[in-house]
Amino acid sequence: MIGSGPPAVDVPGAAPPETRWRSLTTEQGARGALIAAASTVVVVAAASWWILTSETWPAVQRQFFNPENFAESWPAVVSGFWLDVRMFLVAEVAILVFALLLAVIRALRGPAFFPLRAMTVVYIDLMRGIPIILLVLLLGFGIPALDLPGVPRSPLFWGLAALVLSYSAYTAEVYRAGIESVHESQRMSARALGLTQWQALRHVLVPQAVRNVVPALLNGFVSLQKDVALVYILGIREAVREAQIYNARTFNYTGYVAAAVLFLAVSVPVARFTDWYAARDRRRKQAG
């Protein structure tokens, strides 16, 4: 297979010079990998040596990377992180549903829907314009303080609500881009078959739109997975809050590092998966 013409690369109609360049790197593939590995080892070794032999390293290690403090803070941080995970799952589902509703309303045509459309536009602009942390504070402290009858008083509820409201605005825009990327003839064909606007969206436009925006939605997952930690400011004992409590008690920062490790353990695989999925998607589109 190798040497029988250019492989199916990710650039359609790749120019001849590029093809040449690619075949060059293919021929030198083994040597290239060797160079990459060697230079990585050298760089990592140099950086480690420089850090570990510096005068401040023992202090840094004591403050940030102390195995004893790590072990001591771990149980509380893990249980806090479990709350982060659950908050993420609940919020993400709510966001995906609510944002889709917003995007569908925005995609409705005809003068009768103008007020609804206008409302979603105003909503999206407002929510995208306010820092999330401000919304978290506003709803998380503000609404329980109002003491309204029949309204939940839990800061956790309102903290999550703030995240959902804000993220839904962004996610609605993602869906909207997806709906607009579906060819106009698809809408026309659906309407011509007698489907109502709503049925056309439901059975024809949205299913295609969602497929087109899966990578963008996954990026949103990574981002939300970290941003749920913002509710720490309401005193909710998730991972960051637990690390902060540990730090206040021991004046040691290793608990924060423990929390960071946990967030990374989830977000890095999702980010890798997103890249993989997007690349596969691109290949499929070019093949088809």
């Binding site: 003839s185 698809q186 026309m188 011509a192 078959l193 007698g194 489907l195 049925q199 497929r211």
Partner: protein, 250 residues
């Protein structure tokens, strides 16, 4: 033209952003008749078909289907479209649905048919048009000609009394054109009333009961194909046909 008109277009005009695209168009189509719209690119053929299917609102005039003014206020456009099937040049099929699901979508969702009944009808149509083995395929697995045949079958699945075909072969490789045109011939033999926009002059000549020549949004000339193609009265029609003949398409 003594038969009652199935479809009547009366003094219809349409402009896009102030640019006239249809100008005082009059057209009557008797039941079981096939009318072909010919004319150069941009002459308004597609727009006229979309207006008839109420996919594009007209500015003035009226369109009458089965004696009923469908362009009047308060008419349920979705309901009108149930009686009309339309097939476009391209992008007809829904890529995320199988052939069978493409065909049964409207019968099931719009006409509230049971899945089993809708599928049975779809299968018998697929069988008729030589597509039985394709029902489980996704559109991107089919050739262009097969896709257009499925699109026709899908339009037929709602049992329309009028079919509008908009240049359904012009995106196809030449060797795939014949199989699609054969389907249209079959429909004509069944007595389907059709309005067909086409660049295939030989085909228009063969199947049309009447031919309309559109130019700049006006119907400049219309009549039986023998007249239009052999003895066009208007100078513009003559020039259009001359160009077609030079291009070897007649």
């Amino acid at each position: 033209m003594t038969a009652v008109a199935k479809l009547e277009v009366r003094a219809v005009s349409k402009a896009f952003d102030g640019k006239p695209v249809l100008v005082d168009v009059n057209l009557a189509v008797a039941e079981h008749d096939v009318v072909c719209l010919i004319g150069s690119s941009g002459s308004g053929k597609s727009t006229l078909l979309k207006c008839i299917d109420l996919l594009v609102p007209i500015d003035t005039g009226e369109i009458i289907l089965d004696g009923r003014v469908i362009t009047a206020r308060g008419v349920d456009a979705d309901a009108v479209r149930h009686g009309i099937g339309i097939v476009f040049q391209a992008f007809n099929l829904f890529p995320h649905l199988t052939v069978l699901d493409n065909i049964t979508l409207s019968p099931r969702r719009v006409h509230r048919m049971e899945r089993a009944d809708a599928e049975q009808r779809a299968r018998s149509l697929l069988y008729r048009f030589g597509l039985v083995d394709k029902e489980a395929d996704y559109p991107d697995r089919l050739s262009g000609g097969q896709q257009q045949r499925v699109a026709i079958v899908r339009a037929l699945a709602s049992q329309p009394a009028l079919m509008l075909l908009d240049e359904i072969t012009s995106a196809l490789d030449p060797e795939l054109v014949a199989e699609v045109l054969n389907v249209v011939r079959q429909l004509k033999d069944d007595g389907m009333t059709m309005v067909i926009a086409t660049h295939e002059m030989g085909f228009a000549r063969e199947v049309a009961d009447r031919v309309c020549f559109l130019d700049g949004g006006r119907i400049l000339e219309h009549g039986p194909p023998a007249e239009i193609f052999t003895n066009p009265q208007q100078e513009r029609t003559q020039r259009f046909l001359q160009r077609i003949i030079e291009a070897g398409r007649l």
